[in-house]
């Protein structure tokens, strides 16, 4: 063992630069592989930690997960296979939590039935969460919220005032799971509490009112398909059609199902494509690193061959030589692995911050992970040492000792092929990075409404009665150009209505998104009218008038919308059609939308005139101060439109950051590899370069000679990469409702960038080699 350590060390310091490049390249890429596999593992095992995860289901379908409150009662009554059912509802707006002597703070709150903690597993820190769910006005909060509200003091038993009206008692503190979960909340209360806080009898008695998610815990061996059928049968006949596609979505699959949720979103959705793409990136990074490893170590075969030649002369047996080489390679992989784990631990927090991906570094030290990592290192080192080892140890003693081996040894075509593979990967990664960037730009440039110099003020319950005062304050401010009272805020949730539409030939069921807005809204947002008119300020003449978007017409197949009526409370009449704009996150398609002339208000949008940053800042401070005075108990929040809009494509931005970070590192590792190869090629050709210069070669000709091979490989890689990249990119774009085009310049630019990077890397060495004085190279030793 000591002997192996010693000879490994000697071999390492013999070529310190290439070996260091090799080790660091391998370690960095293994670190990436570790981080990405921890991330993917976390994502793919979302909600696996719940004890009953295999028996918990969400009832709904991919478009619709809202169910009426009465459904639970019916299920409990008549479906024996269901052990427990739990409704969950969220608040429309996160409530304000107030504790004596503390500033009020906003946090999310959800309501759930008693069985919540039987379905979902959470660690209790203090108190009794089950008991809390039985009593009205009791709160279960997470440790994070407890710390924010009470600092280090004990939370259980304390009083909290919600929205300046309801007093509640904290009954339990729970730990947020370390593992990934689709459920995300900081405060939980019983349904009984909901009935007190948001009294709304119809929610619990009417089939037409769908405000809950219904989760079920099935008994062992209960068939979910059959159960779903039984549940559908519980609906009254006239509702059944709306639910005909519903089924039971297993808890473990909820995270990767796509649906929309309104109000505060306690259900988190993951993106399986993102996970798959990143797994692919991890595989590619590993491949690049292994190719580096093969290329660099095979460039040392010549040395090894000579060395083993000597060993054989001194009587070493073939098996011993083999064993030594294997041990040396394994040692190398193992050091890289440890270095990688170290790098991963150090950089995980930064990477999480920057990319938004969730990684649990503790998983790294779990038994299975360690054994997989070490096992994989062993298998890889076995594979990658066997080929050269066999070649080296079986070769003839005399051949090995000869100073000059077969002239072709240094220039094996295998190495060229491997480098071409690396560049193929690099080009695909660069092209993909460019595409992701293009898609993000596309997403952010085509919202279809004004984004600049607009802020929003949330209309708190205390402000709701004072809208005229607010209007006056704002319009008296010389910096304010326009204001609009509405329920809309970019990317925020919107309600969905289902009602009937009166068309020329009878009634028609229509579903659509909807929000209320005043007449200024259209102007302020810069929306374009397609036909008809926008409503006027006057609620007395234009009350209950509705403007719909183009998708509304398309989805409901209406040709002449003007004058048709929606059978809502006031028989709303469509008076205008607005051009489609992105009112939801860009990864959701624009759906049917109706904008109602209705005094309900949750936001006041303010368009400002100033462009100068300082005066903008002062104006906002002034507005905030004036409005806060009108709303003493509820915090007034001022949000910038463009920041809100950024949130609308945040998942794209985060994906872009994640992908470009990892792709960038992959390309750097690729460069390290060709740097080592060019270093080696130059070392190997020092003499040849000297000879050529003496025979009349110019520096430029030597450079061309040295760089020619690399350029050739990049060219071959480009030819292979283009169709591969095209295919991958095409597939990826299919996920988007609104996609940018695949332009030819992406491929051209990716190829050129790869060529540029390769040339820069290689030329660093080539230039040094080409400008060296040939006297040194040709001196006879």
């Amino acid at each position: 063992m000591r002997g192996i350590l010693k000879s490994s060390y000697q071999n390492f310091v013999h070529r310190p630069i290439t070996n260091l490049i090799n080790l660091i390249g391998l370690a960095v890429s293994l670190a990436l592989v570790i981080i990405l596999s921890l991330y993917s593992f976390g994502e793919l095992t979302t909600d696996h930690f719940h004890k009953n995860a295999d028996r918990v289901y969400l009832y709904g379908d991919n478009n619709k997960i809202y169910t009426p409150g009465i459904l639970k009662d019916q299920i409990d009554l008549s479906i024996p296979g269901v052990e427990s059912s739990v409704r969950i509802a969220s608040t429309w707006e996160p409530p304000v939590f107030q504790v004596a002597e503390h500033d009020p703070l906003k946090s999310d709150l959800i309501f759930a039935d008693e069985g919540f903690f039987r379905l979902f597993t959470y660690k209790t820190i203090e108190g009794n969460p089950d008991a809390a769910m039985k009593e009205p006005m009791s709160l279960v909060i997470t440790r994070q919220l407890a710390e924010k509200l009470f600092g280090n003091k004990q939370a259980v038993g304390q009083l909290v005032k919600l929205n300046n009206s309801n007093e509640m008692t904290v009954r339990a503190v729970i730990e947020r799971p370390k593992e990934n979960s689709c459920l995300s909340f900081n405060a939980l209360a019983s349904i009984a509490t909901q009935k007190i806080m948001q009294p709304n009898e119809g929610e619990f008695t009417e089939w037409g009112w769908s405000n809950f998610q219904t989760f079920l815990l099935l008994k062992d061996n209960t068939n979910p398909q059959v159960t779903a059928k039984k549940i559908i049968a519980l609906f009254p006949e006239n509702r059944r059609n709306d639910y005909k596609n519903t089924h039971l979505i297993p808890l473990k699959k909820i995270y990767f199902s796509k649906f929309e949720i309104y109000g505060t979103d306690f259900l988190q959705a993951g993106d399986k494509n993102k996970v798959l793409v990143l797994i692919l990136v991890a595989a590619l990074v590993l491949m690049i690193a292994l190719i580096n490893f093969v290329n660099i170590s095979s460039s040392q075969w010549l040395d090894k061959i000579r060395q083993t030649g000597v060993m054989k002369v001194f009587g070493a047996r073939q098996s011993e030589i083999l064993r030594n080489m294997l041990a040396e390679t394994f040692l190398f992989f193992l050091s890289a692995l440890f270095l990688a784990a170290f790098l991963a631990v150090i950089f995980i927090p930064d990477i999480q911050n920057y990319t938004g991906i969730r990684v649990n570094p503790k998983l790294m030290f779990s038994g299975p992970f360690l054994s997989i990592a070490i096992g994989a290192s062993f298998i890889l080192s076995f594979l990658f040492s066997m080929i050269p080892a066999l070649r080296v140890s079986s070769s003839n003693v005399l051949d090995n000792l000869k100073k000059n081996l077969n002239p072709q040894t240094g220039k094996s075509p295998l190495r060229g092929i491997l480098v071409a593979v690396q560049f193929t990967i690099a080009i695909v990664l660069i092209a993909f990075t460019l595409l992701v960037q293009k898609q993000v730009n596309f997403g952010s440039s085509s919202f279809g409404f004004n984004q600049e110099n607009t802020i929003s003020v949330n209309i708190t319950p205390q402000l709701n009665q004072k809208k005229d005062v607010i209007r006056k304050i704002l319009l008296d401010n010389p910096s304010v150009k326009r204001i609009s009272m509405c329920q809309y805020y970019p990317g925020k949730t919107i309600s969905q209505w289902g009602t009937q539409l009166e068309t020329g030939n009878g009634k028609k069921q229509v579903n659509f998104d909807t929000f209320a807005a005043d007449a200024q809204f259209f102007n302020l947002m810069g929306l374009q009218l397609v036909s008809g008119r926008f409503y006027s300020d006057d609620l007395s003449t234009d009350a209950d008038k509705v403007v719909v978007n183009e998708s509304f017409l398309r989805e409901n197949k209406i040709d002449n919308p003007i004058g048709t009526k929606l059978l809502t409370r006031g028989n709303a009449e469509i008076i205008g059609v607005v051009k489609d704009f992105h009112y939801k996150a860009v990864n959701h398609p624009i759906a049917a939308l109706a904008i109602r002339n209705d005094p309900s208000t949750s936001y006041c949008l303010v368009n400002l005139q100033t462009t100068n940053f300082n005066s903008l800042h002062n104006t906002i401070q002034k507005i905030k101060k004036e409005i806060t005075e009108l709303s003493p108990s509820f915090p007034v929040e001022i949000a910038f439109f463009d920041q809100a809009i950024e949130k609308m494509y945040q998942s794209e931005i985060l994906f872009k950051k994640t992908f470009s970070l990892f792709a960038g590192i992959a390309i750097v590792i690729c460069c390290l590899g060709i740097l080592a190869m060019s270093l080696f090629a130059c070392q190997r050709r020092v003499k040849e370069i000297g000879i050529r210069k003496v025979n009349g070669a110019k520096v430029s000709e030597i450079l061309t000679m040295l760089n020619k091979d690399f350029v050739k490989w990049v060219a071959i890689a480009f030819v292979i990469a283009t169709p591969v990249a095209y295919y991958v990119m095409h597939k990826w774009l299919e996920n988007f409702a609104y996609k940018t085009e695949l332009s030819w310049w992406i491929f051209a630019l990716a190829g050129l960038l790869a060529l540029g990077i390769a040339l820069l890397t290689v030329s660093w060495q080539s230039w040094k080699a080409a400008t060296r004085n040939p006297v040194e190279a040709l001196r006879y030793e």
């Binding site: 002239p407 050529r692 003496v694 025979n695 009349g696 000709e701 006297v775 006879y780």
Partner: protein, 226 residues
């Protein structure tokens, strides 16, 4: 053809300046065959490299063919190497990955000679040195003497005026060494100026003039009587 005046060559290390060549004054006329002798480390190779524009003196004047050749631009220097000066080395310094034929052809490619002209020029030399049969072999497949013949062929294919040989026979048995010296003599008879470095008294006698270096100085400069 070559006029060296007060040539110094020294290396500066931290504490001292080591002179390799000191105040060298040397004139070599066109058509001469000069042998350079001297103990190891006396500066023979350095002198040859300076003459061959592969190294520059620390001070002094150097006129080659009447022109000063100190501080040349790369382009001019390369032109000298393509058309005027050639080298032969003790270690032959053939390119191992290339065949005999390709090795000889190399200078012509850099000179920009057309392909079919190259072919006939290489063929002439292979013929002249009786190595036609070896043209597709790699250098390691030849004996030392044959490799050096290839080295000479490569050196003279560009028809240089000046041939510099640094111990061309140093690695060879005496019979092979003699063959090489005969070849050089023949080339000199055809008008080529040759400067060669040797340790071997007998081979030195091939030269028409012998200089002896010692500690960077020319100790003696004798014309061999013919």
């Amino acid at each position: 053809m070559i006029q060296l005046t007060n040539i110094d060559k020294y290396y500066d290390s931290k504490f001292q300046r080591t002179y390799v060549l000191k105040d060298i004054i040397l004139e070599v006329k066109e058509g001469e065959f000069l042998s350079v002798m001297g103990p190891s480390g006396s500066g023979k190779s350095t002198l040859l490299n300076i003459i061959g524009l592969m190294d520059s003196p620390s001070s002094g004047k150097y006129l080659l063919d009447g022109n000063s050749v100190l501080d040349l631009k790369e382009k001019v220097r390369v032109d000298y190497h393509r058309n005027f000066i050639s080298f032969i080395f003790q270690a032959y310094h053939l390119i191992e990955e290339m065949t005999v034929y390709e090795n000889i052809e190399t200078p012509l490619i850099y000179k920009g000679v057309k392909s079919h002209d190259r072919e006939s020029m290489v063929a002439d030399l292979l013929d002249r040195f009786n190595i036609v049969a070896k043209k597709d072999l790699f250098p390691q497949q030849l004996s030392g003497g044959q490799q050096q013949l290839v080295g000479i062929a490569r050196a003279i294919i560009s028809k240089p005026k000046l041939l510099l040989a640094d111990e061309p026979t140093g690695n060879l048995h005496s019979t092979q060494g003699e063959m090489i010296m005969e070849t050089l003599k023949e080339l000199n008879n055809e008008g080529m100026t040759i400067i060669h470095v040797t340790h071997n008294e007998k081979f030195a006698q091939y030269g028409k003039r012998i200089i002896r270096l010692e500690d960077g100085n020319i100790r003696s400069d004798t014309n061999r009587k013919t």
